[in-house]
Symmetry: C2
Subunit: 322 residues, 2 copies
């Protein structure tokens, strides 16, 4: 990645690097003024939809290391940002990309990084419309993407009602084995939930549901979870076995699942909803894991079987996630 024996950023001036980036992106970066090349990108008005805006970074040594390729790193940055759009039920449209890097970064590495950016952006109809290039000290690399999407009926956090069912997509935990850089942003699923007004609240699972469950409701409601229903990923099981940990704890606390956690309005018949889901998204597992209940004075999250606060569920100690 950082080299002294091949071409690096140091061998080019800024204009030349930007020219390269434009070439690498091809039509993933539209013609100026919508694309790269002016003081700002100029985006036409979208009169009938709200805009969604989010920003996420990719830091060498934190979000990726040398065990994944440059292309996979680029892919991961775009996917991370797409997940934020998915969690609102939105449609991705545009993104800016800032590269902050030591000037000893290999040009080949950067090219491959943009290859990952381009492929993932193209798959999801995302256009790269601007960015910035900043020099850091040698051996450092960070990229920051700001993504812009649209939604006519975005699904928010903290808006679930009492009796709504709680669902999660996919399987949870153990993402460090591979899923953290190779996952499906649940865009179509989120769009379907939002456009049909099925979901009453929705969040992206990035830090583990132990934290994210708290974002579904306001302070007048609690959450009841059926621990036996939690969909634990294979990789969470194998990591837990290896380290003598509780796999349930991994499913609750591991980061970077990039799944959707949402509540289904209780006015919607759940059997029919689940059947429709299966037909529409046969590849995307969906699991009902609990229900929104009236405020429990003991805790925000309650075990449905024992009716005890999960925070105090010492026998499992699932939630000691720090």
């Amino acid at each position: 990645m950082f080299q002294s024996n091949s071409q690096t950023l140091n061998d080019f001036n800024e204009s030349k690097i930007i020219e390269n980036i434009q070439q690498w992106l091809g039509n993933t970066s539209p013609e100026c003024p919508l694309g790269i090349g002016d003081d700002c990108a100029v985006v036409p008005p979208e009169p009938s939809a709200q805009s969604l805006i989010s920003t996420d970074a990719l830091v060498l040594g934190k979000h990726f290391d040398h065990s994944i390729t440059a292309e996979q790193a680029g892919q991961k940055l775009v996917l991370r940002n797409l997940c934020d759009i998915a969690a609102m039920g939105g449609y991705p449209k545009y993104a800016t990309l800032s590269i902050l890097s030591g000037s000893n970064l290999s040009i080949d590495w950067l090219h491959q990084f943009y290859k990952g950016i381009k492929a993932t952006a193209d798959t999801h109809d995302l256009k790269i419309i601007g960015g910035d290039l900043c020099q850091l000290q040698d051996d450092q690399f960070q990229a920051v993407m700001t993504i812009i999407g649209t939604a006519t009926k975005p699904v928010l956090r903290h808006t679930a009602s009492i009796k709504d069912s709680i669902y999660v997509t996919g399987q949870l935990g153990g993402s460090i084995l591979e899923k953290h850089y190779n996952f499906q942003p649940r865009l179509s699923e989120g769009q379907w939930l939002a456009d049909n007004s099925f979901a009453s609240a929705m969040v992206d699972v990035t830090d583990g549901i132990a934290k994210e469950l708290n974002f579904l409701t306001d302070r007048f409601a609690s959450i009841q979870i059926d621990l036996k229903s939690i969909p634990i990923a294979e990789s969470a099981h194998s990591l837990a076995d290896k380290n003598s940990e509780n796999p349930l704890k991994k499913a609750f606390c591991d980061g970077e699942d990039y799944e959707l956690l949402f509540t289904l309005k209780h006015s919607i018949e759940s059997t029919q909803f689940e059947a429709d889901w299966k037909q529409r998204f046969p590849q995307t597992p969906l699991t009902k894991i609990g229900t929104v209940i009236e405020k429990n004075p003991l805790a925000n999250i309650i075990d449905s079987e024992t009716q005890t606060p999960i925070d105090d569920f010492k026998s499992f100690d699932h939630f000691n996630c720090e």
Copy 2:
């Protein structure tokens, strides 16, 4: 800035830091979902205007050092971004702010940084609607802002016509003495130029006009400059004296002037235009420095007096800016 004997980021968890940031920003960050707190910020549609999007970073050791305060650093980041909106003739609306920092950053420093962000944002009616927080290795700090504005008639680059006059605001060169962190983004001036369709092309002067002049025209035109007219800043003179440099070279090549460089449509009477400017913006110097001319096969930028390419103007060597 980085401390071991006072409270640092390390003493707080992420939620607590975000809570602090929300408190520091107060109503500069609107209520969620427009403000901080969901997977994305939700921005209402703006049916009649185009959106302007740009992104700029502030890197410790590159864009600022310990000689300026945290508040001045925060101010500089917002001002840098506002200048990109000004250069399109736009109105600033929203911004996201990503903080990438070593966890030994002093909380007090970050608080003061946000104080600078807030004060500058408030002055220019800019709302901070989202962001991201990322841990770096100790002693590092970077902030990335993405700004969103609106314009009904944005002024682009490369769109000047032959015979258009070339103007620049303020004085050029020597910004390193103070102006690089303490300057006026020329927002009202840019808006007036855009809304009245006076300007045919416009750019922000960040890297020096020697580079930026090339952005005014397309490849079918050249630029003729009256070197005697260039408004050289006092600080460029004093730095040039000190280092036995040519002050004109500093005016052409120094970075971070953050002034507007634009072309006035030749259909507009320039004496009247200049009189109107003086009445409307008495505090903002305006200087006519040249004219767009038919393509000169010798060079893109020509000295009006000698009719020689300025790139080859060896006696001055102004343009050896690297």
